[in-house]
């Protein structure tokens, strides 16, 4: 994997500090960025999926990625925790820095990157051979943590953070598949939180859930924002508007616009963005 920077210049200007939209406060000025993405290109074989994406993701905030299917949203998200390393034929170029450290540098272990950058998937995927408790602690146990009391404590804390504790505390040793779809997804969030990542990536985490379960997940995301940087891919524009502080609009593998969420939905700069968010898009 090459990590050259083809051109130090940015393809699109970083988000200018615009006045805060009424509903969403602007991020504190001068705060360090979590992800600094520069000229990110991704290929699957000869298929050029992401084209020169540059953006900065702010800490302790929710950044939403929107765009039509096949525009490269998930590809972008998966580049942030080096999941493309697992796909034969995938190639990533450009620079992604997490708090200043280049994630694709030669001496960086992808496994360690993924411990710092957690991920929740579209379809809930708790491990079917494990209980609820085991699912919550699996990341810790398989990364070498053995002390029982510490595991117990971290399990309870992550289940509480995922707003699942009260619903499962009496059946922690039941199989994880006995939970409802929404509960399973929150269990997956707890599982990701248990290893105490710095960032949580979410790939359409509520798209397979009913409206009630979706509301719970959204509420949870707003809670988690206090402590975590969250990047969420979503097809649901109301959801992006409700929970995110910043929104990036992708189209055909390019970042079309990246700005305060309020601005993207009320007064976007680009015609394409406006067409998409108002539903006029083909």
């Amino acid at each position: 994997m090459t990590n050259e920077i083809h051109s130090p210049a940015l393809q699109s200007a970083p988000p200018a500090p615009v006045p805060a939209a009424p509903a969403v406060p602007a991020p504190p000025a001068g705060s360090a960025v979590t992800f600094d993405v520069r000229q990110l290109n991704v290929w699957f074989g000869s298929h050029h999926v992401l084209r020169g994406v540059s953006l900065e993701i702010l800490p302790k905030a929710v950044t939403a990625i929107i765009g039509p299917s096949g525009c490269g949203k998930s590809t972008f998200l998966r580049a942030l925790n080096r999941m493309h390393d697992l796909v034969p034929g995938a190639r990533v170029e450009g620079r992604i820095a997490l708090f200043g450290q280049d994630l694709y540098a030669r001496d960086v272990d992808a496994t360690l990157v993924r411990r710092r950058v957690g991920m929740v998937f579209q379809k809930s995927n708790p491990f079917p051979t494990m209980s609820i408790a085991e699912n919550a602690t699996v990341g810790l146990r398989l990364n070498g943590l053995r002390q029982k009391d510490l595991l117990q404590e971290r399990m309870e804390r992550s289940l509480r953070m995922a707003a699942l504790w009260d619903e499962v505390k009496d059946r922690l040793h039941a199989n994880a598949l006995s939970l409802s779809g929404g509960q399973q997804q929150r269990l997956c969030i707890a599982r990701a939180l248990a290893i105490e990542p710095e960032v949580l990536l979410m790939d359409e985490p509520a798209s397979a859930l009913d409206p009630l379960a979706t509301a719970k997940i959204e509420e949870l995301i707003l809670q988690l924002k206090q402590d975590y940087t969250i990047v969420i891919v979503t097809h649901n524009m109301q959801q992006a508007a409700r929970i995110s502080g910043q929104t990036a609009f992708f189209y055909l593998g390019e970042l079309v616009e990246f700005d305060q969420t309020g601005r993207i939905f009320t007064n976007p700069r680009q015609k394409q963005t406006e067409d998409y968010v108002t539903g006029r898009f083909g």
Partner: protein, 284 residues
């Protein structure tokens, strides 16, 4: 509609249905016949002595196949020592680590080996092991059976692992878990039952093999105290006794065949019971 035409259609339908039923019965009938026949002719010769005593010389009545039963178990154990680790680890390689070209080559080889007549295994081990050390032995027979088990276990293991949804692997990778731990603790655990099923079916398959033993185990009428000596096995003993001119031996051959088929049947039923209702892991 023309009523005559309607009746003609009904008749055709019944005929074809009856034909299908007949074919289904043809599938079940041999098993029922074999079992019935064996029970009828073998059950009367089954007694405690059959399981506890060594064969008696010709002319003396009584005696049993204790050495052959223990020998078969020994050979299955030796075969498993070889076939299970190689088959399972090879299957893991194919499913989790291998490259496309390598996988194609291994799969192709395994499928050819699965279709290789068992007598060929016997001859190969005879030429490679028995002749050079000029000795029939339990090791040689175990090797022949183990070699037969490898492709069987390899292919079922691979198929079971491939059935584990990729989303579990992704979830585990996203937790920063090292690859080998993911394979060991998550993928293998999810497919565990299927892999054990494959191992048991492979064991059932080689338990009844006679041909590879002819050139390797040799067989005898005594206890085997040293694995580098010849050893007796149930299918081989049945072969010798059934083709002998002595009615007492023929009678014991029936009993041996009954024991062997009950063992294989028990393995298969055990597999069914184990897998019943426990595949939702993979189905989901």
């Amino acid at each position: 509609m023309n009523p005559w035409y309607y009746h003609w259609r009904k008749i055709k339908s019944s005929c074809v249905s009856a034909l299908c039923l007949l074919c289904a019965l043809v599938v079940i009938a041999p098993l029922a016949l074999v079992l019935f026949n064996l029970l009828q002719k073998g059950a009367s010769s089954l007694d405690l002595h059959f399981f506890t005593q060594l064969p008696k010389p010709v002319g003396e009545s009584g005696g049993g196949m204790a050495n052959a039963i223990v020998g078969s178990a020994t050979l299955l154990g030796l075969a498993g020592l070889m076939g299970i680790p190689v088959g399972v680890l090879g299957g893991i390689y194919l499913s989790e680590f291998g490259s496309l070209r390598m996988n194609w080559a291994v799969r192709f080889a395994a499928d050819i080996l699965n279709g290789t007549p068992s007598i060929v295994w016997g001859i190969v081990v005879y030429a490679l092991v028995v002749l050079p050390i000029t000795r029939y032995s339990a090791y040689a027979a175990g090797l022949a059976l183990g070699l037969m088990m490898i492709p069987l276990i390899l292919r079922t293991t691979e198929e079971m692992l491939v059935m584990v949804p990729n989303s579990y692997r992704e979830a585990a990778f996203a937790l920063g878990i090292p690859h080998w731990k993911i394979v060991l603790h998550i993928v293998l655990k999810t497919a565990g039952r299927g892999i054990i099923t494959g191992i048991l079916l492979a064991a059932a398959r080689v338990a009844g093999e006679t041909a590879p033993l002819l050139f390797t185990a040799l067989g005898n009428d005594y206890w085997n105290h040293n694995l580098s000596d010849p050893i007796e096995a149930l299918p081989h003993k049945i072969f010798i006794y059934a083709s002998s001119p002595f009615s007492d031996w023929n009678r014991q051959a029936w009993a041996g065949a009954l024991v062997l088929i009950l063992f294989v049947l028990a393995l298969n039923i055990g597999v069914r019971v184990m897998t019943r209702g426990r595949t939702p892991h993979l189905a989901k």
